[in-house]
Amino acid sequence: MYNRKITKLMLLFFAIFLAAKSIYAFDLTDIKKRGVIRHLGVPYANFVTGAGDGFSVDLVKLFAKYINVKYEFVKTDWKHVIPDLIGKKIEVKGNQVKIIGDSPIKGDIIATGLTVLDWRKKLVSYSSPVFPTQIWLISRSDSKLTPIKPTGDISKDILAVLLKLRGMSVLNVPATCLDASLYGIKEYGAKVIDFNKNLNELAPAVINGKADATLLDVPDALVALEKFPGFIKVIGPLSKRQVMACAFRKDAAELKRTFEEFLDKIKKDGTYIKLVKKYYPAVLDYYPDFFGYGRKGDR
């Protein structure tokens, strides 16, 4: 009897040990053993350009070099980016999320201009903020919508934008930071239209008259302003300042910690700023405090 108990205990410990091992199966050690880190990315603005470069691509490539492994890009989309990391199917409604099944794990790190949202926090472990962002409302240049006059108070500015939306059609991308339900747009009388194509096509869709306006985050809006000068205009903000960060599985603590070290290093040695200047030079001027600049002239 005593022997049985010990055996059971040993089996239990063994099971726990096995379980623990499997928890750590996709953490840093395993990645080093495998010799490659898999980067989950969605072609989006200048984070993942689709041509093999981008802010996020360069960042993860540098991280791969830092931990001495090879780099592998795994293309995904907004609907599957988190399931591909955590191995679970999910259902998102507004700010609520539900796990509805299993799916294969395809990547080790998400770096793709992923905004930090509350529902995402429940599923992944975010790194320190990597990029500043905000949601702006964009319309065609000849639209009836006119840009707001900034008041200096972000809440007032957001309200001013919302009040203009009655009867207007607005594109949004569900289950992303561009989900209209996150900003109460419908409640202010706007007609929300779901857009399921590539986010890079939001601005062209508005230019071609698919809707009166669209939500865009600041990095994407800056890219669009440069690509389509004179065709679009920024009405104003729909959110307060947000941040983007890289995402890891909740059980990949070692990987995340190592990434934080890496991030700290490249911020100190100027590599990080060089990356920002390379892909988003304008954003330094919009959010200087995020990047540690006191005044404009210091850049």
Partner: protein
């Protein structure tokens, strides 16, 4: 002793001469040497100046490049995007700041990319807004705030071009370039570029050189890498510099003075001059005085040496002279001996020659083939040669000499000839080839030619005669024979001419005999066509008419060819409008071409003058033949008629007209025979396409008669180009070109057409008349081009667009233009094929005269349409000839006027004008048709065009007026329609029997005057109006009541139709089915300026509107009827637009009531 004195004197003279020469020689050497020194110094100076000049040029280029950089910045997209975004209302916080960063990137790129020998040219680039606030600044970190610049005071918006200036800080100057920036013509800021002075120093640096920039206020010195005040470094700076100045430059800090060469060059439009000074070494040249001294010393040494040698030589000279004298005498003697021997030899030679000469002449005398004689004055022979002996029938000379005692009576058959010969010899001393009949010994007579000379003795008295006698009997016989042959030839020539005349008369008679019944047939068929016929009858009539016209055309070709071959075709030389001629021909063929789906394109080089001299009828004949052939042998594609300038010399203009098609083409081996008569390219072609094969042969003859050439380029399956050149005289007094208003020159015009050939020619024509024109081949590209032009601040004023483009129709194009705020102000003119005009009118309801053109385009219409589209009221209707004189006509029914005119448009215009006056009008297109009509109807007046296809107007008039004329009224007034303004044409018109003339283009005013003049007293009343009918179409009472009228009066309808709803419904259905097409027809007639038809259609529609209770429609139509009657086009336009609106209201009213949908029930 004497010799010695002589030699001494000689020596002295020589010495003197030698000294003089030496002095002169030395002087010349010195002079040339001095000149050489001066030239050397000059070359040195020139080298310095050349270096300076090169530097100045380099600096000018440098400045020009900086201005170009500024100009490029002005058109940079980043800057305009910023202002566009700002104009959209974007704020710095939300989006606008990104645009500023783009500008900054643009500036930074310029800063780093512009280098000179590895050094940055620019130090800083700043964009300042109108308040002086910096929007963008590339300021490098090392620049301190102590270098504060008050930008606001530097803003100058009045200057349109980049400029430079120096800005003074406390101890130095800074060089800036600047340009004001305008966004949508508003001043929104200024761009400043700070130049790195090191770059200018590197550009201009040259050893021993000082560089200054000078204006009225100050002089700035480029001291290595800094611009500073020249007064700080130099003393005594000159105010003005003369050309090639040299002066003393004194440095302040050092006691050094230096001579410099200075050159000053002004910098254009800046107020500054560049002053460059280069050190000048005065001692650089050689010392001028050394050389002359050296030369003089050398000369003295030479002189002494000469003197010594001269003394020695003079003694030797005396001895030599004596020796020479003795030698001389000996030689003389020898010479004389030689001469004597030569004389002897010469005499021997002469004797030998004399002997040989005598032998030769004796041989000639004895052996000559002609008779030679010497004759005494008394007529007896002295000597005769054997030939004369045999000619006269004697055996030996002695017998002959004894026989003749008096040749006058014995030798000459006719003594008068002998006397005549003698007389001639006495007068002239010589007679050559005198022909006389002589008698031989046996009495036989023969003809001889005598050449006789009178020989005079030493006393100059007549000594004897000498002569030659030749037997010419054979020749005389031949002459007789030739004379007879000539006589026969003359008779044959006369017979041939008579035959040719007979042939021509035959042709002329037959021409008249055949043409007369042909014209009768054509005339009758034309009249029949205009009567009430069934469809089948109309078809038969048209087939017969076409066949008769074809036969008549063939006959005309044959007659023309006969005339040409007989040399009887005479060309006219008249003044005519070449543009009108070519455009008329092209327009006349337009319908046939467009019916086959072919594009007919016309291009005339605008440098060709308008008025020329030539035979317009024949030129038109050639052109019509070539265009007709092109249409016949082309099944798809296009036909292009181009008229180009070739040359102009001595008041003769040569042009080249070409007709190019995309038809079946002609094999190369057939080209030679093309222009022969009765030749087609192949027999299969003749079978398939028909034709007599005479057209090209006639065209060739006509062109060659006019002094031109004709030819063809063609390949089977690849189309053909028939061309001909024409030399045309120009008027002596004034050469007139196309009238192009100055205000349209310089307009920016875009032409849009998917036919590249048409596009290319129209753009070329527009550029030729001074318009800036571009072309696009599709609507999409055109819209894009309009927008791009607007963005670069060079918008298009007019866009000329084909209504039927492949990628979009005209209405879609117009909507796209008008809905875009940037380009909505562009005027749009549509081009429409003539054939599609009515279909277009069916689609478009807002056509005006200034927004469409009919293809093929008339260039005068084209110019006036562009002018109207840009400068005139866009709603202006067609030009109206409102009568200046208030003359109105009351014309009783049945007054008939004949218009003889071949141009369809002119036919239409004249017919409309005359019908509006109330006349009945008939049209004849040829002289033959006119004669047939005049033979069958009584006309009160005839308008006769001079240029007709079969015969000219003069000829037709002669036939009408002839005693044998068969027309009903040979004295009918005939008015010439002529474009010829010259007196002789008018005189000719009167000479052939015309009564008056009216110049083309015909105006209503002129037409009414002529009608009044020639029809007064023939039942036509003329009355004056007290006031012009202004807005006469509007009945004021009716206008006031209009608004109260019902749109649809159902009760009124039922009352009129015996309360039968069924009938009323049927009437409404019919009304609504027919009315839209009637409204289109009304509009079409309005656009054709046909008031009479407008009135008739309005009248008809008024009646039917009343029947169906469309009261407001009825009232409107009544107003239209009245406005048409008084030719009030302005009101008509508005009324017709109202008509469409009113009909829409009526339709809606009917639908609303649901009357049409009710089911029929038994009517009460």
């Amino acid at each position: 002793m004497t010799d010695k004195n002589f030699f001494a004197k000689l020596r002295e003279s020589l010495l003197l001469i030698a000294v003089s020469f030496l002095v002169v020689f030395i002087g010349i050497l010195v002079f040339f040497n001095y000149r050489a020194q001066v030239s050397l110094e000059k070359a040195y100076t020139e080298r310095i100046k050349s270096n300076i000049k090169n530097r100045v040029i380099a600096l000018s280029y440098f400045f020009t490049e900086r201005k170009n950089d500024l100009n490029e910045l002005c058109v940079a997209r980043s800057i305009s995007s910023f202002f566009e975004n700002k104009a959209l209302g974007m704020s710095m916080e939300y989006g606008l700041r990104a645009s500023l960063l783009s500008i900054q990137r643009e500036f930074k790129y310029l800063l780093t990319s512009k280098k000179l020998q590895g050094m940055n040219i620019y130090q800083r680039i700043v964009f300042v807004d109108p308040s002086g606030k910096i929007l963008v600044d590339t300021k490098p970190k090392y620049l301190h705030e102590s270098n504060y610049i008050n930008w606001k005071q530097l803003l100058i918006k009045e200057r349109s071009e980049p400029y430079f200036f120096f800005y003074k800080t406390h101890n130095k100057y800074e060089l800036f370039f600047s340009v004001p920036y305008f966004f949508k013509n508003k001043y929104v800021g200024q761009i400043f570029i700070h130049i790195n002075p090191k770059s200018i120093y590197k550009l201009l640096s040259l050893k021993d050189t000082f560089i200054f920039f000078k204006n009225k206020e100050h002089t700035i010195y480029l001291n290595k890498n800094v611009f500073c005040d020249a007064q700080d470094f130099f003393l005594r700076f000159p105010e003005k510099l003369c050309r090639d100045s040299k002066f003393l430059l004194m440095l302040k800090q050092h006691p050094k003075q230096c001579f410099v060469i200075a050159t000053s060059t002004p910098i254009k439009d800046s107020g500054y001059s560049i002053l460059i000074m280069h050190l000048y070494d005065k001692n650089a040249g050689l010392k001028v005085w050394l050389y002359p001294l050296s030369l003089s010393f050398l000369a003295i040494l030479l002189f002494i040496g000469l003197f010594i040698s001269q003394r020695i030589n003079s003694q030797n000279l005396v001895l030599k002279t004596k020796l020479e004298e003795s030698t001389k005498y000996q030689r003389e003697i020898e010479q004389k001996n030689i001469e004597l021997q030569n004389e002897i030899k010469r005499r021997k030679v002469l004797e030998e020659r004399l002997r040989k000469s005598e032998e030769k002449y004796r041989s000639i005398f004895e052996n000559a083939l002609v008779g030679i004689f010497q004759l005494r004055i008394d007529g007896t022979f002295i000597a005769v040669n054997p030939k004369l002996v045999s000619l006269l029938g004697f055996d030996n000379p002695e017998e002959l000499l004894d026989f003749y005692t008096d040749i006058s009576s014995q030798l000459f058959v006719d003594q008068r000839q002998s006397k005549e010969l003698l007389k001639l010899i006495k007068e002239q001393n010589f007679v050559d080839k005198f022909e006389a009949k002589l008698r031989k010994k046996d009495g036989t007579e023969f003809w001889a030619a005598l050449s006789v000379r009178l020989v005079k003795g030493e006393d100059l008295k007549a000594s004897h005669f000498e002569g030659v006698l030749v037997d010419i009997s054979d020749r005389k016989n031949m002459e007789e024979e030739l004379k007879e042959i000539n006589m026969h030839l003359q008779e044959a020539l006369i017979r041939a001419e008579e035959a040719s005349t007979a042939k021509t008369e035959f042709l002329a008679n037959m021409s008249h005999e055949i043409r007369t019944p042909m014209n009768g047939i054509i005339g009758m068929l034309s009249l029949l066509k205009d009567t009430e016929l069934s469809d089948e009858q109309r078809h038969f009539c048209l087939v017969a008419l076409n066949s008769a016209n074809s036969l008549l055309a063939l006959l005309n070709d044959i007659l023309d060819l006969s005339k040409i071959e007989a040399g009887k075709l005479e060309l006219e030389e008249l003044e005519f409008d070449i543009y009108e001629l070519i455009e008329d021909s092209v327009m006349a063929m337009a319908v046939s071409a467009q019916q086959k789906g072919l594009e007919l394109i016309n291009y005339i080089d605008p440098i060709i003058p308008v008025k020329v001299f030539g035979d317009p009828v024949r030129i038109k004949q050639v052109l019509n033949n070539l265009i007709g052939n092109a249409i016949k042998f082309t099944h798809k594609g296009e036909i292009v008629v181009t008229t180009n300038f070739v040359s102009q010399r001595d008041n003769v203009l040569t042009i080249r007209i070409a007709v190019k098609d995309t038809g079946i083409g002609i094999p190369k081996e057939k080209h030679k025979k093309l222009f022969e008569k009765f030749t087609q390219a192949e027999t299969t072609v003749a079978r398939k396409y028909g034709g007599s094969g005479l057209g090209l042969s006639i065209s060739k003859h006509l062109v060659e008669l006019m002094g031109g050439e004709i030819g063809v380029f063609s390949e089977q399956g690849k189309g053909s180009e028939f061309w001909f050149t024409l030399p045309l005289k120009l008027p002596q007094d004034r050469v007139e070109h196309l009238d192009v208003p100055e205000k349209i020159k310089g307009l920016h015009v875009l032409v849009v057409d998917d036919n590249i050939t048409f596009l290319k020619h129209l753009v070329s024509f527009l550029k030729g008349i001074g318009i800036r024109a571009q072309g696009e081949i599709s609507g999409v590209l055109a819209i894009s081009e309009l927008k791009s032009a607007f963005l670069i601040k060079d918008p298009y004023h007019v866009v000329i667009v084909d209504y039927y483009l492949n990628d979009m129709h005209g209405d879609v194009f117009r909507n796209q233009v008008k809905s875009n705020s940037d380009i909505c102000d562009t005027s749009i003119v549509f081009t429409v094929p003539y054939y599609n005009l009515s279909e277009l009118l069916h689609r478009e309801q807002s056509i005006t005269s200034s927004n469409f053109l009919i293809k093929p385009v008339s260039f005068r219409d084209f110019i006036s349409t562009i002018t109207d589209a840009v400068f005139e009221d866009k709603d202006k209707p067609y030009d109206i000839d409102l009568p200046k004189e208030d003359v109105d006509l009351t014309v009783p029914k049945g007054i008939r006027i004949l218009v003889v005119e071949d141009n369809p448009i002119n036919q239409e215009v004249l017919k409309s004008m005359l019908k509006n006056m109330g006349f009945t009008v008939d049209i004849a297109s040829t002289g033959g048709e006119a004669l047939t009509l005049l033979e069958n109807r009584d006309y009160k007046l005839v308008f006769m065009d001079i240029q007709l296809p079969d015969m000219d107007g003069y000829e037709v008039t002669k036939i009408i007026r002839a005693n044998t004329s068969e027309v009903k009224n040979p004295k009918v007034p005939i008015i010439a329609l002529t474009a010829h303004a010259m007196k002789e044409h008018q005189t000719k018109a009167f000479e052939v029997g015309m009564d008056d003339y009216i110049p083309k283009p015909v105006g209503v005013q002129d037409l009414k005057k002529v009608v009044k003049k020639w029809l007064r007293g023939k039942g036509i009343e003329f009355s004056k109006q007290d006031e012009r009918r202004e807005c006469a179409g509007l009945d004021e009472d009716l206008q006031n009541k209009f608004e109260n009228l019902p749109i649809f009066d159902l009760d009124g309808v039922l009352e009129r139709l015996a309360n039968s709803k069924k009938i009323a419904r049927k009437a409404l259905h019919t009304f609504m089915k027919v009315t839209p097409s009637r409204m289109q027809e009304l509009k079409q007639e309005f656009l054709r300026h046909n008031a009479q038809r407008v009135k008739e259609i309005a009248h008809t529609m008024k009646g039917s509107s009343a029947t169906v209770g469309a009261e407001r429609l009825r009232a409107l139509l009544q107003q239209i009827e009245k406005a048409a009657a008084s030719n009030n086009w302005k009101i008509l336009r508005k009324l017709i637009d109202d008509l469409y609106n009113e009909y829409d209201l009526f339709e809606k009213e009917i639908q609303k009531g649901g009357f049409l949908d009710e089911k029929d029930s038994k009517d009460k």
